[in-house]
């Protein structure tokens, strides 16, 4: 399931993030890549512990923490600390790859199983050419280039790539999420059910049927969630 979460960051926060990361020292993105993907990765990244990354990450997490759509779609259990990348000039693309399944958080040494990947766009789409995130999803290939502040959520199991940036710079924040519900299809089902119930509850008073559907949601979650 590929889902766009619009306006995770409002304009000001986007600008603040941009300002923070723009002023920071960038390193070669291959530093964080596995051996296979490092062959196709050609971008720049902020070191995980850069102060700017820490501040900007805080802004992103703050915004995510109040974003119901993100929560309900991802059902997050753990989020690997968001990172920032930058594609421009000679370092402008990231070929097809699959994200690592498990990442270990350097500070806590805890493992995060990467069920979902997310990219939060920080550059305005008309400020650069190229740079589409192309995701090979079960529905075929999808090209994603969103407004600054919007986020795309997609299964980490999918093959994806970033097209070369031919003009301007593409700044983005990306992260991996371990979900309480491990399987993509189950998560998708829960999301659909949730949205359907939401629509019913918005349009009508809670009828006994809605209450029972809500119960179904919770019982499915009880059955599937690992917390």
């Amino acid at each position: 399931m590929l889902l766009t979460v619009p306006q995770v960051l409002d304009r000001e926060t986007v600008l603040e993030c941009r300002r923070l990361v723009t002023e920071a020292d960038w390193v070669d993105g291959r530093d964080t890549a596995g051996t296979q993907s490092s062959q196709v990765k050609n971008n720049r990244q902020l070191p995980e512990d850069a102060p700017a990354a820490t501040s900007a990450r805080a802004l992103v997490l703050q915004a995510l923490s109040t974003n119901a759509l993100f929560f309900t779609a991802a059902l997050p259990k753990r989020i690997y600390p968001p990172l920032f990348n930058r594609y421009e000039g000679a370092n402008n693309a990231f070929g097809s790859h699959i994200d690592n399944a498990i990442r270990t958080h350097p500070a806590s040494a805890r493992h995060v199983r990467c069920d979902l990947s997310a990219t939060l766009f920080l550059s305005d789409p008309d400020s650069y050419d190229g740079g589409e995130l192309v995701i090979e999803d079960s529905f075929g290939s999808q090209r994603v280039k969103l407004s600054a502040g919007d986020l795309v959520l997609y299964p980490a199991s999918s093959v994806h790539r970033v097209e070369p940036v031919t003009r301007g710079a593409r700044l983005a924040c990306f992260m991996w999420i371990e979900s309480m519900v491990r399987e993509t299809e189950r998560r998708r089902l829960l999301y659909e059910l949730d949205m359907a119930i939401l629509a019913l509850r918005t349009d009508t008073d809670d009828s006994p049927a809605v209450v029972r559907l809500t119960g179904c949601y919770h019982n499915l979650l009880r059955m599937w969630a690992e917390v």
């Binding site: 603040e16 997490l61 109040t66 280039k145 407004s147 999301y191 949730d194 918005t202």
Partner: protein, 729 residues
């Protein structure tokens, strides 16, 4: 239809507790479990400045000729001001039915309009290619808050070109726009006007002046407007009251107390996005916002003015003002979603995203301004001197709104925009992000002398010191002390000719009015200087004023005024300039034929990129700065009280593009040039007048306001017809 459902009061026994605010279940299950982070820091605030005041106790000027103005700090005839001045007279405002300041300024050459985004809303003008919203004044006092100004209480609008900090305090390069309020008059005079028009245009105004006693008069202006527009779903509601009272009219001590209240509530219109560097080619009424969008402003300005004629030539004038502004915006800017193609635009299926723009602000200022003007002689030299002091205390807070999750306007399509989409129940639930505040105090003494060195020849020079001390809640502190100067020579061989050569400068310490203050880099104040050579002629025994000017204005350390990019990019350019030529005429060609016309040719260029900026901007024409603008308004009186008139407003091609870093080549969006024609017919009698205005008579599609960074551009009005009935008693 929309579904902002009321909260229900009979919760069923569901496992989801009392929240009836219809959040997704998953969101509640997982809870907002991420560690809360400290308050968001938004590096912006508001900051302003000082100035002087206008008083016009004599009758309103007739016709389109400027008459007197205080833009030069003392009461002067426009023809005597040794700097380019355009005066939009009350008659011009009325005959063109210009109800907003913006409409009134359509008749000013070399002026273009910016569209706002989230960062800056309200009136936003460019003069001679430089942004000028920090140079808006009301009776000589800084009035730079973000709101949509009305004309119901305006006597005239003065536009003084070029850098003007010596006269007005900190400001930019293009010039100063000064609104002159209606003042109590020593005669009973009342006017009531009702206007109706196409697109449900309804407006009522009253202007009541009443003499209360021998030296006391009161005046009240009232306005209520409720209007649609030729843009689908775009509406505007406005109401205003402006009472004033003057004591001591006709005596040596005069005191005027005035209050101005304006409330506006309109649909913010972000126009259309660009496609392939041109405004999206769709009908001009097509609106991509939603009917739930709003922009609300409330303005309260209280002013006390005391004037004392100490001697026939010596006058003290002291003004104290408190101004209080609030604004609140919830709108959406259209952006074409990725993947739009000519085909998907042609068949209307291309997706338009709606970019939320939501924020609010409050500003409060206290201003005290005292001017002493006098004439004296030293030997053979005649002096006209001005000494003044201005104090300005400012307080501002601003914030953005973080809509609760998911409460965004859904995307729509190019061909069939849905202005009333099914919105989330939480749409418009405004969660304030942290308030960024700004507090500033400025004191500024100034002095100017104009010396007649021989008959017909004057030298003038002035200097002003502005001392600003400001604090932002973001931790930034700004302390500036800056000098501004004005000097020149003025030659008036006869009453009907005036030639001058003038130099003036200006400074501005922060990015004006979005108050973006970089915390990591401190740059010098913006600096601009203008050299101008001009001529003013009074033709036809003074009935027709003509003026011409050539000038060059340079600006250094230009601040970015747009929150869109200011955070990354506080400086826009290191150096830029505009060279230009202006020609204007105003007045009467015969008993029956009047005209107001202007032509501005400009050659604006960016000379040097900001430090670390993209060098490719050098040599490029700045944004929203066309190579030419021209305007004409003319009327002809027929017999029996009939009058016909019409005119044109034209602007050359304008560019819109981001000025960032990197080394990408600059590929601007291009907004096409346009001509808009208006027409009027009126039947004027002593006690009443009926007037029919046709705006944009040829129903031309044109783009009035340009969002400088690109992104969107706002179409001007389509053809509209308004019928005004005015009673005088």
């Amino acid at each position: 239809m929309q579904c902002a459902k009321p909260h229900r009061t009979t919760p069923a026994a569901t496992p989801i507790h009392a929240s009836r605010n219809a959040l997704p279940l998953g969101a509640l299950v997982t809870g907002m479990l991420l560690a809360p982070i400290g308050a968001l820091a938004a590096n912006e605030t508001t900051l302003p400045q000082i100035t002087v005041q206008d008083d016009r106790l004599d009758d309103t000027p007739e016709g389109y000729q400027g008459g007197t103005t205080r833009v030069g700090k003392t009461d002067q005839l426009a023809k005597d001001v040794p700097q380019a001045v355009t005066i939009v007279s009350q008659q011009l405002i009325e005959e063109t039915n210009a109800n907003t300041l913006k409409e009134a300024l359509r008749h000013v050459s070399g002026l273009t309009f910016n569209a706002g985004e989230g960062g800056r809303i309200g009136d936003n003008m460019m003069l001679r290619g430089f942004y000028s919203f920090g140079d808006l004044y009301l009776d000589g006092i800084r009035d730079v808050a973000q709101y949509n100004r009305e004309t119901f209480n305006l006597e005239q609008v003065d536009v003084l070109r070029g850098s003007a900090a010596m006269l007005f305090g900190r400001g930019q390069a293009g010039g100063v726009i000064n609104q002159a309020s209606k003042q109590p008059l020593a005669e009973n005079r009342n006017e009531v006007a009702l206007t109706g028009g196409t697109d449900t245009y309804r407006r009522g105004t009253a202007d009541i002046n009443y003499v209360l006693g021998q030296h006391v008069a009161t005046r009240i202006n009232i306005m209520k407007t409720d209007a649609g527009s030729t843009r689908d779903h775009v509406e505007s509601e406005r109401e205003g009251v402006a009472p004033s009272i003057a004591f001591g009219l006709g005596t040596d001590h005069r005191l005027t107390l005035a209050h101005y209240y304006l409330k506006t509530d309109n649909t913010p219109d972000y126009g259309v996005p660009y496609f392939e560097l041109r405004p999206l080619d769709v009908p001009k009424d097509r609106f991509y916002g939603t009917t739930d969008d709003y922009e609300r402003n409330r303005t309260n300005i209280s002013t006390a003015t005391y004037e004392f004629s100490i001697t026939p030539d010596g006058r003290l004038r002291s003004v104290l003002r408190h101004a209080d502004y609030t604004r609140d915006l919830w709108g959406v800017a259209p952006r074409l979603a990725a993947g739009a193609t000519s085909a998907s635009i042609a068949n209307g299926t291309a997706i338009v995203n709606r970019n939320r723009q939501a924020r609010g602000g409050e500003e409060k200022t206290w201003t005290s301004q005292t001017d002493f003007t006098t004439k004296f002689s030293t030997g053979r030299f005649e002096h006209e001197a001005l000494i003044g002091l201005e104090l300005l205390d400012e307080e501002a807070g601003r914030w953005s709104y973080n809509a609760i999750a998911g409460s965004v306007a859904p995307p729509t399509t190019v061909g069939n925009p849905d202005a009333s989409p099914l919105l989330p129940a939480s749409y418009g639930n405004r969660v304030k992000n942290g308030v960024v505040t700004y507090e500033g105090f400025t004191w500024a003494p100034y002095v100017q002398d104009m010396v007649q060195i021989m008959p017909g020849w004057k030298l003038f020079a002035g200097a002003r010191w502005d001392d600003l001390d400001a604090d932002y809640s973001t931790g930034a502190q700004v302390e500036y002390g800056e000098w501004s100067y004005r000097a020149g020579v003025s030659h008036q061989p006869t009453d009907f000719q005036h030639y001058y050569f003038a130099w003036s400068d200006s400074f501005n310490p922060t990015s004006d009015l979005y108050q973006f203050t970089p915390t990591t880099a401190v740059f010098p104040a913006e600096r601009s200087r203008t050299l101008e050579l001009g001529a003013k002629w009074e033709l036809l025994e003074g009935d027709l004023s003509l003026r011409a000017a050539v000038y060059r204005t340079e600006k250094a350390w230009e601040r970015n005024t747009d929150i869109e990019t200011a955070a990354n990019n506080p400086l826009l350019t290191r150096e830029r300039h505009t060279s230009g030529f202006e020609l204007e005429g105003a007045g009467r060609l015969s008993e029956r034929w009047e005209l107001f016309a202007g032509l501005a040719l400009m050659s604006p260029r960016i000379d040097e990129a900001r430090p670390g900026g993209n060098p490719n901007v050098e040599g490029v024409r700045p944004r929203n700065a066309p190579n030419y603008t021209y305007n004409l308004w003319t009327t002809y009186k027929l017999d029996h009280g009939w009058k016909i008139g019409g005119g044109v407003e034209a602007k050359g091609e304008r560019l819109a593009y981001g000025i960032g870093g990197g080394s990408a080549s600059i590929t601007p969006n291009k907004v096409p040039s346009y001509q808009r024609w208006d027409a009027m017919v009126a039947y004027e009698q002593r006690r009443y007048e009926i007037r029919l205005n046709v705006l944009n008579a040829f129903d031309k599609r044109y783009y009035e306001s340009v969002y400088e960074n690109g992104g969107h551009v706002v179409p001007g009005t389509g053809r509209a017809v308004q019928l005004v009935t005015e009673l005088k008693f």
